[in-house]
Amino acid sequence: MTKVLPQGKLKDFLKDTMDKYSLVAPVREDGVVVLKPTADPEAVVTDYLNTVTSPKDFFFPQTERMFRFQKTEGKIRVEETTWQGKRVIFGVRPCDLGSLELIDRVFQEGEYEETYYLARRENTTVVGLACSSPGPTCFCTTFGITPGSPEGADLMLYPDGEGFVVEVLTEKGEALAQQTETLLEDQDVDLAEVKGRFEGLKVPLGDHLSVDGVAAKLDGMFEHPVWAELSPRCLGCGICTYLCPTCHCFGMTDEVRGDQGVRLRCWDSCQFSDFTRMAGGHNPRPTKKERVRQRFMHKLNYYVHRFGRYLCTGCGRCLEKCPVGLTMVHVIEKVNDSGTREVAVNE
């Protein structure tokens, strides 16, 4: 037997969820679907290709307080703060589910753990939502993700007829299933069959785009003319990095009110000209060429060296939103098309 959430009970499912969790869900707002905290199940939508913003916002928020400090009587008191809460993120697509695991590696890796991210990860239950109809910008399959991949979800929903077939993947998922137990019907549905159907869905762009060998090829392409060719049209904005579910660069800033203050961790973008500019003025990535190269080399080469995977899940946001079409697909195609020989270019 498999648990099924009937379409008609979705609102109740969200309501019951809210009894124990705060809810983050896709909401349509001024013509875009965004993931945002909501208390209104009626506002939650499921008819979207993907949310314009990605779930990373709720694990790695754009602005995160790291600690408070207070200066008193010649002393300084530093009070570390971590996020407290219990949250469900609803409606995460497989590509975005996959992205969480990629960021996990960065923030867990090495000698130091990024505790802010991990605190939010631990206390958030992710409800995935399989894709019934991948769109023209989707290319998850390029990176081995399918419209039905549940990896990264605690609880996965597969739209099926008049409801959602439920797959519980983790303890957190189980807890949520129990919380919403009365709404989940046991039905005679073959989960594997349903999953298989989603996994087999065509993803036109992804199915034709191969990333095989790209990382290795890029080893020799640091000085390749492709970067000078691609980068001039870049606007230097942060759309790609801020919408990307896997980008995770940040900076820190202090906000002070008198003798107390906080240090905030804020998103930053490798596409911004001041990202690597040093106090003395030197900038190792002074032009758009170096910055565009950094972004794609990071995703398709550096990250692969460190973690053995590409730092992209084919969500297609850059295709949808980059105003100048400087997209992952475009770059992969360029790399695939280019000669492997390293060409030294002096500008």
Partner: protein, 652 residues
């Protein structure tokens, strides 16, 4: 932190303030004293700086407009750059306007916090120097302007004296006698007029007006419009044939319209320069195209109908404004007949009527029928001390000139009766009270304390109905002539002139001195000084004193070859400046230019345009800083960083 005696300390709990301020970051030492501006107070600051090795100082005291300079000098004494000081205004803006300690104390803390936040962002500023053009412009050729011009010229500097009318002399020339000495106005004025005309360092420009003023202290650029006189001054000998032959007549302004003059005329016989001018509105040649008598009779061939206005551009180091006053227009007073009764005249008209060179040859005849008045009523405070219809201020001279006129009347015509309606008699001048006493006691002038309620005609007389508040009775006087002591008011074009030069004026359009007590002859625009009644009602002695004072200020300025400039000027961060030039049009001084700089970009040298500020011209208003979107333009002493820090500190 200053107690200012009890001025601050009684309303602001300075101990509480001290506790709060001591905790602020960067504050290492706080102390209070009773009078910080006093010598011991200042010494305490100097000692504090030395003892604690301070590099910034905040003084919490009175308004920076009062003592900023004082304390800047104080910190400089301790070896600190004077601009590393800020003032927290906890007196005018705090203790004097808030009554409870509970209100004033937190506010004082906020103000101090803002001052501290600002001062830590202060940077040492240094002055630079600009050359001084040692020529003065005096605007207005009345006694104030003449005196100022003579004094400056006597100090050895070039002066250009600009007068709007065809002659210098101004109001004083219109007066008959002067109080309290009763010497003849013309007798003491005309020699000075001649002195001014003949002084080798003074250039007279009569019948001329100020068109445009640019530049700044030490370097004003002034455009003067020399109106077409229609007479070539260089050739004219002032023989007078032209005006004796001229067939057109017009009311003589000099006689307040009581007499007539010709279309080509000199305003009065002792006019300086003694060169006529053609009043084109009344000249037949100009109105009808025919005549030209004057041109025909002129032996020197000086008449020039083709003459045009001439624009002179001159550079000056200083400007003295001495444009004088006008008289209040009493036609707003219904009770005095709305100016419609010909025998209700102003004090100045009275002066002309009793003046020997006036329209009646010095015989007091009333305007309506030429009858010699037997009963004359003087009414004081017409337009002054009257918020409803006139102005609230005291016109200062009326008490004395009314007494003078009553004396003159009684002296000339002992048979005539003089009545004076007054609210108060104000005689705060040397010999003034004695003069007034003479009027009442020696000359038997009848003083009635009370307002005139109405003046109305009865037969060929005027009934003046008023109240004698001392007696507590209505009085009615049947008068042949009523003289109104109308107030001195600012000239109607005063505001326009102030705007043109760029200094301020008060709500009555009198020009504003930089400080009512301590800087009474300066304006708040450096290099522009005030003399005479353009600054406020004044009698002749005060006017002359102020004119001489202004002259001394100019001479002081001219005693230096160079001036230190205001270091609080705009400055450009060339690294940030885009060279877009949008700052330029906001600068009233034309102080912003564009220059090309060269810089290294990668491996090549490229040139790029950036804004640059002429620190001699910049007066530090900061308008450009707001036009600059990137913040490349900043204002020293009021930087974006400083103001934002103040905002943030106050909002805590």
């Amino acid at each position: 932190m200053c107690w200012c005696g009890s001025n601050i300390a009684s309303t602001v709990d300075l101990d509480r303030v001290q506790k709060a301020v001591e905790k602020l970051t960067n504050v290492v030492h706080v102390e209070q004293n009773k009078y910080t501006c006093s010598e011991p107070g200042q010494a305490q600051i100097v000692a504090g700086i030395r003892e604690h090795n301070l590099d910034r100082v905040v003084v919490a005291a009175c308004s920076p407009r009062m003592h900023e300079k004082t304390f800047q000098r104080t910190v400089a004494k301790a070896g600190l750059n004077p601009y590393l000081l800020e003032i927290a205004n906890i007196r005018e803006h705090c203790s004097w306007v808030h009554t409870s300690v509970e209100e004033a104390t937190p506010k004082a803390i906020d103000l101090l916090r803002a001052a501290v936040a600002k001062v830590i962002r202060n940077t040492p500023l240094t002055t630079s120097t600009i050359p001084v053009e040692k020529r003065a412009l005096v605007i207005g050729g009345g006694i104030a302007g003449i005196q100022a011009a003579l004094d400056i010229a006597d100090a050895g500097h070039q002066v250009v004296l600009v007068e709007k009318e065809p002659t210098i002399g101004g109001r004083m020339a219109q007066l008959d006698k002067t109080f309290p000495t009763l010497d003849c106005s013309a007798c003491i004025l005309t020699p000075k007029m001649v002195d001014a005309a003949q002084h080798p360092k003074i250039r007279l420009l009569t019948y001329a007006e100020i068109e445009e003023v640019g530049g700044y202290i030490g370097n004003f650029e002034v455009t003067i419009r020399k109106k077409a006189r229609s007479v070539n001054e260089d050739v004219c000998t002032g023989c007078g044939i032209c005006w004796s032959k001229c067939p057109s007549k017009a009311p003589n302004e000099f006689d307040c319209g009581l007499g007539e003059r010709k279309a080509i005329y000199i305003p009065f016989p002792q006019a300086v320069p003694n060169k006529p001018v053609i009043d084109r509105e009344n000249c037949r040649y100009f109105t009808k195209g025919k005549c030209g008598v004057c041109k025909k009779v002129c032996p020197a061939g000086a008449v020039d109908f083709e003459q045009e206005d001439e624009l002179l551009r001159e550079r000056f180091g200083a400007i003295v404004v001495a444009t004088g006053y006008e008289l209040f227009d009493h036609s707003v007073y219904g009770e005095y007949g709305y100016g419609k009764y010909p025998d209700v005249i102003t004090g100045l008209e009275f002066e002309r009527l009793i003046n020997a060179s006036g329209p009646t040859g010095g015989k007091l005849k009333r305007p309506s029928d030429g009858k010699i008045p037997k009963t004359v009523v003087f009414v004081k405070c017409v337009g002054s001390r009257d918020e409803a219809k006139g102005f609230p201020y005291c016109s200062r001279t009326c008490c004395m000139y009314t007494a003078k006129q009553a004396i003159l009347l009684r002296e000339k015509m002992p048979e005539a009766e003089a009545y004076v309606f007054y609210m108060d008699v104000r005689t705060p001048g040397k010999g003034y009270e004695e003069f007034y006493t003479r009027a009442t006691e020696e000359f038997g002038v009848n003083y009635l304390r009370g307002r005139v309620a109405r003046i109305y005609p009865k037969g060929d007389q005027l009934v003046v109905r008023g109240e004698d508040t001392l007696v507590g009775a209505q009085v009615e006087i049947e008068a042949d002539l009523v003289v109104l002591a109308t107030a001195m008011v600012a000239r109607r074009d005063a505001a326009e002139l102030a705007q043109r030069i760029g200094f301020s004026y008060d709500q009555y359009h009198f020009f504003t001195e930089a400080h009512p007590k301590l800087r009474p002859v300066e304006t708040n625009t450096a290099g522009v000084f005030l003399a005479g009644a353009c600054q406020g009602p004044k009698d002749i002695p005060d006017t002359v004193a102020q004119a001489s004072a202004a002259a001394v200020k100019v001479a002081m300025l001219f005693s230096r070859d160079e001036l230190e400039t205001n270091p609080m000027v705009a400055t450009v961060d060339e690294g940030t400046c885009s060279g877009c030039e949008w700052c330029k049009p906001t600068c009233p001084y034309g102080a912003i230019d564009i220059k090309t700089i060269e810089e290294r970009v990668g491996k090549r040298t490229v040139s790029r345009r950036v804004a640059t500020v002429n620190t001699g011209l910049c007066q530090g208003c900061g308008a450009c800083t707001v036009a600059c979107r990137s913040g490349a333009m900043n204002l020293k002493g009021f930087t974006n960083e400083q103001i934002l820090a103040e905002v943030e500190a106050i909002c805590l």
